[in-house]
Symmetry: C2
Subunit: 348 residues, 2 copies
DNA sequence: AAAAACTAAGTTCTCGTGCACATTTCTATT
DNA sequence: AATAGAAATGTGCACGAGAACTTAGTTTTT
């Protein structure tokens, strides 16, 4: 019950050797006779010796240095929350001696990515968390990392065939499927539905596509042949109202709308204004969205906490570097289903 | 950007005093002249000195000792997961010098609670996490704690008018409301519903009641006058099938069933066997429940991770004791809505 | 005026780890 | 047997905080 935490000193005393010898055994630094090695090893194993992480951290000062390479939210607001999440993670990990430096690149300029990547490679970091949304440059960067054995974790955008330690991201397809499943719960019969993409960021172009694909896939897998899905895509916030209403008018059978982005409140607004009754599912806990969820104009919000994503990314590297833990290749974020009654959990 | 973390030594050098003096200023231990005090204080404030938590922990060895007083899961399986959660928390906090000891009592015997409570009081702990499900004994225990200024956090069962530092628990009423809200999404019209309580543990008797109350409240608040709710309560697993089928037969209009416990798979089983089609909402990610969720016999599962609950409980005490943080009086657990498409997030 | 009491400050030790350096022990060669 | 050289093992210090202990200087007491 009352487990004592054995120290190197304890082990040394029990094995009748000095601390230095125990230390050498623990770290396999050699220069220990075979018999001594085995004697110490046995005691170590029997007592299940765990080094005192606190002392270790104190001694080492900075345990490891991580670099984070993400798009600057100045150019793409999408990245604001992941970056805030990183800031939180930085504080959390500072106490155990992990230092994290941020490198933010302009996602419109390959040169900006290259420049930051170069700095990272030159600065001798121990691990990197990177959003590889510039494909060619990222692959090039990964080659460099592989060359010098620098571990990296990919973030948000998944790239095949890399030696990444892991990937942290949203499961967009599954997210679309979740939306579709919720939709059929609202509208069990064969129905006419609409998928609306309200472009909000560069990053999201690809995301929206995958969500739509997941949404459709759900119905294909179910063989719900009777379902008709209309897709509306726009990046012009001014035009959207007109186009949207037109699609609705042309297809009066549409009973459910799935908005693939956090801009779902725009659709809710239109529905409210024109007193159109339709089921509505969208993303994220923006204040406007919450208002419409509470008023009943939005039926479900799906939430994938980007803050958690950042934290997972850092912890993934730390686990590998510090605790030598085997980490899951792909860590995906929870897809949270939010309604009026359980929203409180997700606010703060 | 590149904030250096100043140490006592740095401060001492800048103020031209010794480390001891700085230490005295920091901890207000007196024996420092006014002029020196102010000189040091000024530098401290200007540099926003934060003591190195790692060194502090190392020095102090054990930072604090916490006791956890819960029912033994040998007598009530309900407590298995919270206790597992505690075990996880114990490991997590060990690294920062927090020691947690478990005291498990027999929830059927007041004497068992008393005996454990006495041990805790005598052993000089710094804080206590307690499940006060034996009312009279708990109140008595809290009086003792108050007397010696021992902080405690209540867990799972809420007791009014205590000086508890906080309470960690499920929001049962809200949980019932969530179920009701999901039900209306499945069954929008005025309907006939059933609430089934399948008693599974002592603890749950009260829980079930609150969930039912929340479920009904949802409809009252909405003024859905047309809804009829039948309640079935049983602790006899053998009889349940018969009674349940009888209620269904007598009230053929019932279109939705809300099971207030994790035993929802029993109902699903009956529905499946008799090919009864009805919407079904229940609790927890038991293997059987997951199977029925995947097969479509269960429509929604609600999940309130008891492991998280334990962790929150410990962190609540640690925040208070170590970081002197103001903690929220009531911390409630997320109410997670689980369907086939997002279940993966919650498994492991 | 010397001893005692007190104040303000400095010094040293501890916590457990990890590494550099010092010392001992063993082996091989002359 | 003496000794170099390697191999094995021991020791000391630093990391930063914190508290006990020590010292220097001042005031009070007898």
């Amino acid at each position: 019950m009352n487990e004592k935490n054995y120290t190197i000193k304890d082990i040394a005393r029990m094995a009748n050797v000095s601390r230095g010898t125990v230390d050498r055994v623990i770290h396999g630094r050699g220069k220990v006779s075979k018999s001594t090695y085995e004697k110490v090893r046995l005691i170590l194993d029997k007592l299940n010796y765990q080094p005192n992480l606190v002392a270790q951290t104190l001694r080492k000062g900075e345990v490891c240095r991580l670099a984070v390479l993400l798009p600057d939210f100045k150019f793409d607001i999408f990245w604001k929350r992941p970056i805030n999440g990183i800031d939180t993670a930085i504080k959390d990990y500072a106490s155990i001696g992990v230092r994290v430096d941020k490198f933010l690149f302009n996602p419109l300029r390959a040169s900006s990515f290259r420049k930051n990547a170069k700095s990272i490679l030159e600065d001798g970091y121990d691990g990197i968390l990177v959003a590889p949304n510039l494909y060619r440059e990222s692959v090039e960067f990964f080659r460099e990392c592989d060359k010098i054995g620098l571990p990296y974790v990919t973030f948000n955008t998944y790239i095949e065939n890399t030696n990444a330690l892991g990937h942290i991201g949203q499961d967009l397809e599954q997210s679309g499927k979740t939306a579709a499943s919720l939709m059929t719960k609202l509208l069990p019969g064969p129905e006419e539905l609409m998928v609306v993409h309200v472009e909000e960021s560069l990053e999201n172009a690809r995301h929206m596509q995958e969500k739509e694909s997941g949404f459709k896939q759900f119905y294909e897998e179910r063989n719900s042949g009777g379902v008709r899905i209309h897709v509306l895509k726009t990046d012009n916030l001014k035009k959207i109202k007109k186009t949207f209403l037109q699609v609705l008018k042309t297809n009066p059978g549409i009973g459910g709308i799935y908005v693939s982005t956090s801009k779902v409140y725009i659709i809710a607004q239109i529905l409210e204004k024109h007193s159109i009754s339709s089921f509505l599912i969208g993303y994220d806990l923006l204040d406007e969205n919450i208002r419409y969820l509470k008023s009943g104009h939005i039926d479900f919000l799906i939430y994938q906490n980007p803050g958690i994503q950042s934290n997972l990314g850092i912890s993934c590297l730390v686990d590998h570097l510090l605790f030598k833990a085997d980490i899951a290749k792909k860590k995906l974020l929870p897809i949270e289903i939010v309604i009026r009654e359980n929203i409180e959990n997700y606010l703060q």
